[in-house]
Amino acid sequence: MSFVEVKNVSKKYANHLALDKVNFSIPENQIFGLLGPNGAGKTTFIRILNQITAADSGKILINNEPLSPHHISLIGYLPEERGLYKKMKVGEQAIYLSQLKGLTKNDALKKLKYWFEKFEITTWWDKKVEELSKGMQQKVQFITTVLHEPKLLILDEPFSGFDPINANHLKEEILKLKSQGTTIIFSTHNMASVEELCDNITLINKGKSILSGKVHDIRKEFSENKVALEYSNPSDNLSELLNSKYNSTNVVELGHSTQVELTLGEKETLNDLLQEVTSLCSIHSCNEILPRMDDVFIKAVNQNK
């Protein structure tokens, strides 16, 4: 079930075509990665989704309804460039922002207290934003983004500026929100986090959507059929076999075992390999090497050039 459907969306700025008939869908209650190089059109798409700007052509459906003003209260948006009113107090500002999203003042107050206690930052309530450090400000901004319990959460580079401990907390929060039913759009360059968090992705380059689908499927698609094998007690003809048939590379001697990267032929499977080597050595481990998302990204973009 897709929560957001993007159909043939195009947008042009003066002389620059930011989005060119982009098509993809965002499944409900999943973490969706919106990936792409700088200037690809990600921010433009996010702004269209937030109704900050409008598409020139095409359609976007949220929950099967065309984009309309009431959707604004369903969306929580954490922009890449963070910012709050510096001279306004934290508590007051959070309430103001959630009121703008449609919460009543009382509701906002209650929810805010809950979040402040959860993050253990109740002492910050009356502080002015400029009195907080950058990391603290980001925490506050995150809370203001999720306070109104949005069904759709848009996070643009949410981890930038967070130290590892807080980044981890944030990751946990995101996963928790997902388990509570939120659909999350996650726009980033940080491919490691994509592998950890995203279920589906779309890769946008020069305004076009060049890759879409489940993360695992995509990695498989880009896989070079590589396998990592760790063994010991090889028989005499093992290395010969591995070299000629499986193009072994990256041989690493680990003392009590040897690690090697092998390339399977097109029709060959892991099972076939195992059958062949099982009698020729003691197998410690054997797994398929899926490309890292970094590599997928680079490859896809280069292919597209």
Partner: protein, 445 residues
């Protein structure tokens, strides 16, 4: 609509709670009141101590002829005492000494007023006046016309008291004080000028701040840019109105206190004499000053139908503010930092200054073509029409001017909104007028 109210509330509360607002609101009327009271108090206090002036007249004409006045007394000394007087001046009780000698080359009399400290302007002016009076007398006598001094005295006693009166619609009469109208007119012009500047600037700074702190992106994911802009403009307008109303209340309070502090007529004569002889009077003709009566002024103010004028003032304040505030909002959205805003602010301030300038002199010819046109053109009308108000501007002129102003600010707001909604998300671009025009034309959201 609800969301605009939220923005208005935030803009209003954050500014009204600031210390700077409270200080400006409460100190300004105080300052204004002091401006009125202090000079009077100083004049009163200095007139009470008597100043003794020693006179050494080597020409021999002036001594015995210079007359004393309340607070200044002449004492005529022998010529040979000058040396001694100079050496011991500080221990004498004299305030100053007047030395009169004849210049051997030009045959003119040379007058010098000497003291060990700074001589106040009133004393200098009085001495000068007296010397002149004696010289005139001397000259009159030299003509040897009979009874000439009597003729001259009769001439100078001729005084005309001209009362300016306005006929109202029912044929009744109302005494009007021209000076009051002038003061009110200039006051209005100044106030509207300041309001436009100070609060227009606040709009610009607010917009700029939102842009540079990046909060604007979060906000416009919740509300439309137009709602944000209007909320800000209206919120700040309310701050200005609040400040203005507080000022009026406080000023009335202080003026009432001032009325009781300044004693009525019996001290006024001294004041009037000093002022009459003073040279620092070029702004208002001397004859008018003799009608100077503080209490009369206050009564005239009440008669000026100040209620109606205040109401019209508020209408023009709103119109003028909204017109200029929309310009300031557009400028704030166009630049990345406040420092870049100067090049755009300048063309906005020029009509304001021109308007103020015309307004300041409107009292001289309130119905001249220049004044009338300037009170119709929306960029200058707030200042100029208000300056013309005390001079019985026909109602139709006011109504037409207000309609033009309203249409203009609706237009300018629409125009500014289009620039605003593109500008607030645009960073790093070098902004020129051509660029702004492009943003304006950029039709759909």
């Amino acid at each position: 609509m609800n969301k605009i109210k939220l923005v208005i509330k935030r803009e209003y509360l954050t500014r009204v709670r600031k210390k700077s607002f409270l200080i400006m609101t409460f100190l300004s009327p105080l300052f204004f009141g002091l401006l009125m009271i202090v000079p009077t108090l100083i004049a009163l206090s200095s007139s009470s101590e008597e100043k003794l002036i020693a006179v050494i007249d080597e020409v021999g004409v002036y001594e015995q002829n210079l007359e004393n006045i309340a607070g200044i007394k002449f004492e005529f000394l022998e010529h040979n005492l000058e040396e001694e007087l100079r050496e011991n001046f500080s221990i004498t009780e004299y305030y100053a000494f007047l030395s009169i000698k004849k210049d051997t080359v030009s045959n003119e009399d040379i007058f010098r007023l000497i003291s060990d400290n700074q001589i106040v302007i009133d004393v200098r002016d009085y001495v000068k006046g007296e010397l002149r009076r004696v010289l005139i007398d001397k000259k009159l006598h030299s003509y040897e016309i009979e009874e000439l001094d009597k003729i001259v005295k009769e001439l100078s006693d001729v005084q005309v008291t001209l009362t300016t009166v306005k006929i109202d619609d029912l044929g009744g009469e109302k005494e009007s004080a021209v000076e009051i109208s002038m003061v009110i007119s200039m006051l209005f012009a100044f106030i509207s000028y300041f309001v436009i500047f100070i609060y227009g600037n606040q709009v610009m700074r607010g917009v700029s701040e939102e842009k540079s702190s990046r909060i604007v992106e979060v906000i416009i994911s919740s509300i439309k840019p137009f709602q944000l802009m209007m909320g800000k403009i209206v919120g700040i307008a309310l701050v200005a109105l609040t400040q203005f109303i507080l000022w009026i209340i406080l000023t009335f309070g202080i003026v009432t206190i001032a009325q009781s502090v300044i004693p009525s007529t019996f001290e006024q004569d001294k004041l009037v004499e000093m002022i009459e002889n003073s040279e620092a009077n070029d702004f208002v003709a001397e004859n008018e000053m003799s009608d100077f009566d503080f209490h009369q002024i206050l009564n005239s103010v009440k008669e000026q139908n100040i209620g109606q004028m205040l109401f019209i003032f508020i209408l023009y304040f709103i119109g003028g503010y909204f017109l200029y505030a929309s310009f300031f909002a557009a400028v704030g959205s166009a630049v990345d930092a406040e420092t870049d805003s100067q090049q755009f602010v300048l063309p906005i301030t020029i009509p304001v200054i021109i308007g103020l300038y015309i307004a300041m002199f409107a009292f001289k010819a309130p119905h001249s073509p220049l004044a009338v046109w300037a009170s119709m053109i929306p960029l200058t009308s707030p200042m100029v029409m208000l300056a013309r108000l005390p001079f019985d501007v026909p109602m139709w002129e006011i109504i037409v001017s207000l309609i033009i102003l309203a249409a203009s600010f609706i237009l300018s707001t629409w125009f500014a909104a289009r620039i605003y909604r593109t500008g607030i998300l645009m960073y790093g671009k070098k902004v020129t007028y051509k660029e702004l025009w492009r943003w304006f034309k950029y039709s759909r959201k």
